[in-house]
């Protein structure tokens, strides 16, 4: 499928290659490496030549949804019976890493669809819901979004006010969600709302239902190639069969977040490796004072620190992936990886930006885009500080959220 005719193609060749200082590739199977090279080829063909233009124009390239479906980036761990990939968690991590290497906004589109829309339907949905939604979401025929955050309830989703009433033959949904990735173009939304007893449930709301609208949020300086918006429910009649029957309570959406945060831990390091790779090349090519800037100790320090953090994070991801495969990874372990990896990715992006000098602030290089994107990634899916509280609670047994 062709790109949207308005997309401008960059003339620069994407020569990215990942650092593998501790031979972590030896821990991967031949199939994992084939998955990586396939997604990398896909990103080099469909994303990196265009993403700078999309981000500059704050344009969400809707045609990428079908392409992600075709390559198999949506719900790779969902069983094949429902159109998923049936792959393991290391494969899922690798896919997120390679997509975010291209752009965090593109990865957001994929991880929302996979971990936050397909995952809850797969885990908590009825057989009829799985059959109805999963194949179309996996193929990219439909785009989904996940509504948890509200204008007055971000870090504290348990305080949500969005609610539904049992009207006998349907539910009546009221309230609003904010900061919702994919919402402006979504065909369905998995919405978390309280019933009359105040218990949180997941409902599938479909575009076209009366009283449901999705206004777009404009003016972002981050994730500019990803569409973000609100979900507004004004007396929306939701059929009873759209309630996810498998699990209720705040634990249900938090389980989805575990899966998505795991993908972010890998994804952020993808962005970090792109910054490092670009900085290393630039430092060797850029001549100042008669020699490559890579010959100065201060530049070498930056590169050495970047590689150290990337290598540690790669090991963290690999180990966490094996725990995920065994079904043993805990929320706190995932928190540690999400927080650490996004934090080091941001630091690496900032240092890489400095190595690129003035060029680092332009769209000639991916650095500034990654850096701005990561400012969202550090806040969504649990802010940097909220993850400290999750870890603190795990260490001490004392919740310090309120």
């Amino acid at each position: 499928m062709a790109q949207d005719a308005s997309s401008k193609k960059s003339l620069k060749q994407d020569v990215y290659d990942h650092p593998d200082f501790y031979a972590i590739d030896d821990l991967l199977t031949a199939e994992h490496k084939l998955i990586r090279s396939s997604i990398r080829d896909f990103v080099k063909k469909e994303i990196t030549p265009y993403v700078e233009d999309w981000a500059q124009r704050a344009h969400f390239p809707y045609e990428i949804v079908k392409k992600f479906g075709d390559i198999g980036a949506f719900g790779p761990t969902v069983s094949e019976q429902y159109g998923g990939g049936g792959l393991d968690y290391i494969s899922y991590g690798i896919i997120m890493q390679e997509i975010e290497r291209g752009d965090s906004g593109m990865r957001s589109t994929a991880s929302v669809q996979g971990s936050l829309v397909m995952y809850p339907i797969y885990k908590f949905g009825s057989e009829a819901q799985k059959k109805k939604y999963l194949p179309k979401l996996a193929s990219g025929e439909w785009l989904g979004c996940f509504g948890l955050t509200e204008p007055d309830h971000g870090s504290n989703p348990g305080g949500m006010v969005t609610n539904f009433k049992d009207m006998g033959d349907h539910y009546l949904l009221n309230g609003a969600k904010m900061w919702i990735s994919n919402s402006p173009r979504a065909d369905i939304a998995v919405v978390w709302a309280k019933n009359e007893e105040g218990r949180v449930h997941g409902l599938v709301v479909e575009r076209g239902m009366e009283g449901f609208s999705t206004p777009e949020t404009h003016g972002k300086w981050s994730l500019r190639a990803s569409a973000t918006g609100e979900l507004v429910f004004d007396n929306v009649k939701v059929p009873k069969e759209n309630l996810l029957p498998g699990k209720s309570g705040l634990g249900a959406p938090l389980m989805c977040l575990d899966s998505a945060r795991y993908g972010i831990a890998w994804g952020a390091i993808g962005a970090a490796m792109d910054c490092y790779d670009s900085a290393r090349r630039y430092a060797l090519e850029r001549i100042q004072f008669g020699k490559p800037i890579a010959s100065f100790q201060l530049v070498q320090k930056k590169l050495a620190e970047m590689l150290s953090e990337i290598t540690k994070a790669q090991l963290l991801n690999w180990r966490l992936g094996t725990l995920m495969n065994e079904g043993k990874a805990t929320t706190a372990q995932i928190s540690l990886a999400k927080r650490n990896n996004v934090h080091v990715a941001l630091e690496i992006a900032r240092e890489a930006r400095q190595i690129h000098g003035g060029m680092g602030i332009t769209g000639e290089y991916p650095i500034m885009r990654h850096m701005m994107n990561l400012e969202s990634v550090v806040t969504y899916e649990g802010t940097h500080d909220i993850h400290l509280l999750i870890l603190g609670n795990n260490i001490t047994g004392i919740p310090a959220f309120f």
Binding site: A30, E31, L34, I35, S38, D70, G72, A73, E80, L87
Partner: protein, 246 residues
């Protein structure tokens, strides 16, 4: 219609090349291996033909030791139906061509596709030898290939232009771009490749007349000297005295 696609397992085009054992062995340490880029075009075209032709099948073949299997799996993951690995080091073009021809005789294919050349030894003769051994026409480099019943219409690159041909099946073609666009395996393809048959066959013995003696790297590229466009005199002096080409 049965299509055979022969693929090579070659170092990625950006690999650093060096040798060990007194320059008699290619050092594979840290080298990534890929499907030969020209073979990859022929594979992509074969898959397109298969998709457009009910009942058509694509078999991939590689002459190589067990460590080429990930490369073969990649070919299966883009859509080939099954694979054959002839368990031998691909020592020279005649050896490889003989293995392919013997296998082809045992199965009976309608079409054999491969790259115009491999990108490791770049001999570019295997398709010709296979055609000769089978008594089939062979054409290379083919940049367009359309099957029409028992015939195929081809376009071939020739010095300064193109040649358009019509060839009866069966035949052998060495392919190059733009015959088709490289296919990127999708996750479903990678999953389904896990269970596709990959048969390992022992080689037929071949009396090769070729023995490798030694590899030698080309001399490293010298530094570039920039001369102002209007300074022809200096250019001539340098070409005479330094480059010694005049």
């Amino acid at each position: 219609m049965k299509i055979l696609v022969c693929i090579t397992h070659v170092p990625d085009t950006t690999s650093k090349i060096n040798f060990t054992d007194n320059n008699t062995r290619f050092n594979t340490a840290g080298v990534q291996f890929i499907i030969g880029p020209y073979d990859d075009y022929s594979l992509a075209r074969a898959i397109e033909i298969k998709e457009a032709t009910p009942g058509a099948t694509v078999t991939v073949l590689n002459v190589g030791p067990a460590d080429t299997e990930p490369t073969i799996r990649k070919a299966l993951s883009v859509g080939a139906d099954d694979a054959v690995r002839i368990n031998a080091e691909p020592t020279d073009s005649f050896f490889v061509a003989k293995q392919i021809a013997e296998h082809a005789k045992s199965i009976g294919y309608d079409l054999i596709l491969m790259g115009r050349e491999s990108i490791d030894y770049n001999s570019g003769v295997v398709h010709g030898i296979v055609g000769e051994l089978l008594g089939w026409p062979s054409v290379s480099p083919v940049m367009k290939l359309d099957i029409e019943g028992t015939k195929a219409k081809l376009a071939r690159e020739i010095e300064g232009g193109k040649e358009f041909l019509e060839v009866n099946l069966p035949f052998v073609a060495g392919c190059q771009e733009p015959i088709a666009e490289w296919k990127i395996p999708n996750m479903r393809g990678i999953m389904s490749a896990r269970t596709k048959p990959l048969k390992v066959v022992e080689p037929v013995s071949v009396d090769s007349g070729v023995k490798l003696q030694q590899f030698e790297l080309p001399p490293p590229k010298g530094a570039v000297k920039m001369i102002a466009a209007d300074n022809v005199a200096e250019l001539v002096t340098l070409l005479k005295n330094e480059a010694k080409v005049l």
